[in-house]
């Protein structure tokens, strides 16, 4: 009997029209959307189990409260797709609209926040500024010391990240895509400037198009093709607590503390607070320093959480570009080699959009205006996307 949710790994074919490297939400969303548009001769190679990387390790937050028009417009488009994604994919990913508060302190200036809200309003995003007095009334659980207010996004939400991975894999496989977990891409053979063959741990395949959706491994995957991408690997650490009675409905982020927290439908608190200026060596081991930092920050922001028991901490790896924004487009020096990586800590929320628009780009050659600002050429043209409303400003590390 065929498994009803996760497809079994199919036999490796000798060739695929499109090879996607990385079986996380980006690779699987792109594969599903290619097949949805009628192009199903597609393989997704994942070296571990699907969703093993940042896709299954993030907060699962979707919020549209960004400073850069490009970020806000892309996430807002994604947010529209999120509304019906469970129906579209035929699998419940438990998207739940909770609203979010992005708390502003010293690191983002109020004029910058006002400008961001104006941009968001132009796009149609119903965000608004909440004064610190109103914030205290709306979130009496929160200690607002040092805060100037918050940006409230009533449309923000969370979902079940593993379920999104499975939903895309299931939907893609049903349309004929070959999803290959436990299959590492180990090399690429060039013919002229193009990648002609992809070597994997289960054999070689010929292909016309390779898409780098490898997340934190995106620089290594580009190197296999003799190319380079401006991504740097960083560790983020998070925690989850025992389940408790409902206490916190919205998702709360605090820019000055690089902190974020939400309570799941089951009652656990999930969050993290990144030590500013300290990221250590990239890896999946957790550290006492980060756990203590998170606990101290949360205990200060939410005094009632001091008695809440932390069950587990974990780490995830992200691929961070110099301006903290994702990379799309074809590499000039490597025709047929495309990017969908570098999305840092925000890759999860945009995955429905990058898959839809990325498939359209591969099929028609037209890069949608919502994806175009993320083209990798911005590092030559200087149209950078640094966003002061990014909560984990790991890019700041490289900006110096």
């Amino acid at each position: 009997m065929t498994p009803s949710v996760l497809p079994p790994s199919p036999e490796l074919k000798r060739s695929y029209e499109v090879v996607i490297v990385g079986g996380g939400v980006h690779g699987l969303s792109l594969a599903y959307n290619l097949a949805r548009a009628g192009r199903s001769d597609v393989a997704v190679f994942e070296r571990s189990y699907i969703g093993a990387g940042a896709s299954g390790r993030n907060l699962s937050l979707i919020r549209s409260s960004w400073q850069q028009r490009a970020w806000a417009a892309l996430v807002w488009y994604a947010r529209g797709l999120w509304s019906t994604i469970s129906v579209e994919l035929g699998y419940n990913v438990m998207f739940t609209e909770r609203g979010s508060y992005l708390c502003i302190g010293q690191r983002a200036s109020l004029p910058a926040v006002e400008a961001a809200l104006a941009t968001q309003a132009e796009i149609g995003i119903p965000t608004r500024f909440v004064s610190v007095d109103e914030l205290r009334r709306r979130l009496p659980q929160l200690d607002t010391t040092g805060m100037a207010g918050a940006v409230h996004d009533p449309t923000a939400g969370v979902s079940r990240h593993d379920a999104l991975v499975w939903a895309y894999a299931r939907a893609a496989a049903r349309l004929g895509v070959h999803v290959h977990p436990q299959t590492a891409v180990t090399g690429m053979e060039l013919a002229g400037e193009r990648v002609a063959r992809v070597r994997t741990s289960r054999g070689d395949v010929a292909t016309d198009i390779v898409v780098n959706c490898a997340g934190s491994e995106s620089a290594e995957v580009a190197a296999l093709a003799g190319a380079s991408v401006p991504t740097r690997k960083l560790t983020l650490e998070m925690f989850v607590t025992e389940p408790y009675a409902a206490f916190l409905t919205p998702i709360v982020s605090v820019i000055d503390d690089q902190a974020y927290i939400m309570q799941t439908s089951r009652g656990e608190f999930v969050g993290g607070a990144e030590p500013v200026g300290h990221f250590g060596r990239p890896g999946l081991a957790t550290s006492y320093a980060a756990l203590r930092q998170s606990a101290a920050t949360m205990a200060r922001l939410f005094p009632r959480l001091r008695g809440v028991n932390v069950l587990r901490a974990w780490a995830g790896l992200i691929d961070m570009t110099p301006d903290g924004a994702g990379l799309v487009g074809e590499l000039e020096e490597r025709p047929g080699f495309f990017l969908d990586c570098g999305w840092g800590g925000e890759g999860y929320m945009v995955a429905p959009a990058t898959g839809r628009l990325g498939a359209e780009y591969l099929n028609t050659g037209t890069l949608d205006e919502r994806l175009a600002p993320f083209h990798h050429s911005r590092f030559e043209t200087g149209d950078l996307l640094d966003d002061s409303l990014l909560v984990v400003d790991a890019a700041g590390e490289t900006r110096g």
């Binding site: 498994p3 189990y49 607590t241 101290a296």
Partner: protein
């Protein structure tokens, strides 16, 4: 095995639940963990991991020694945020 045999006492996961999950394609210990939430309760797998992996090995016909054991993450036992933060416990928390 009886239909109500519990393999995870933290989250009430039964042998039937595992069988259904495997039939749905969650044949990897890591995806099975994420699908059923086994090893994610207060015991963090300390009480149930061997039982769950033995059932998984039996259901998939694989060698239990070759199954990946999901990483045990700190803290070893639940610890309050206040204690971790060095603030002590709140009396009323």
């Amino acid at each position: 095995m009886a239909d109500k045999a519990f393999v995870c006492l933290c989250l009430d996961i039964t042998a039937d639940d595992l069988e259904r999950a495997v039939a749905e394609g969650f044949t990897d210990s890591e995806t099975l963990k994420r699908y059923t939430a086994c090893f994610m309760g207060p015991c963090q797998g300390k009480a149930c991991m061997d039982t769950v992996l033995a059932r998984l090995a039996a259901l998939t016909g694989s060698d239990i020694e070759r199954l990946r054991r999901p990483t045990l993450r700190p803290p070893a036992h639940p610890v309050s945020m206040g204690l971790l933060a060095g603030l002590g416990e709140l009396d009323d928390a």
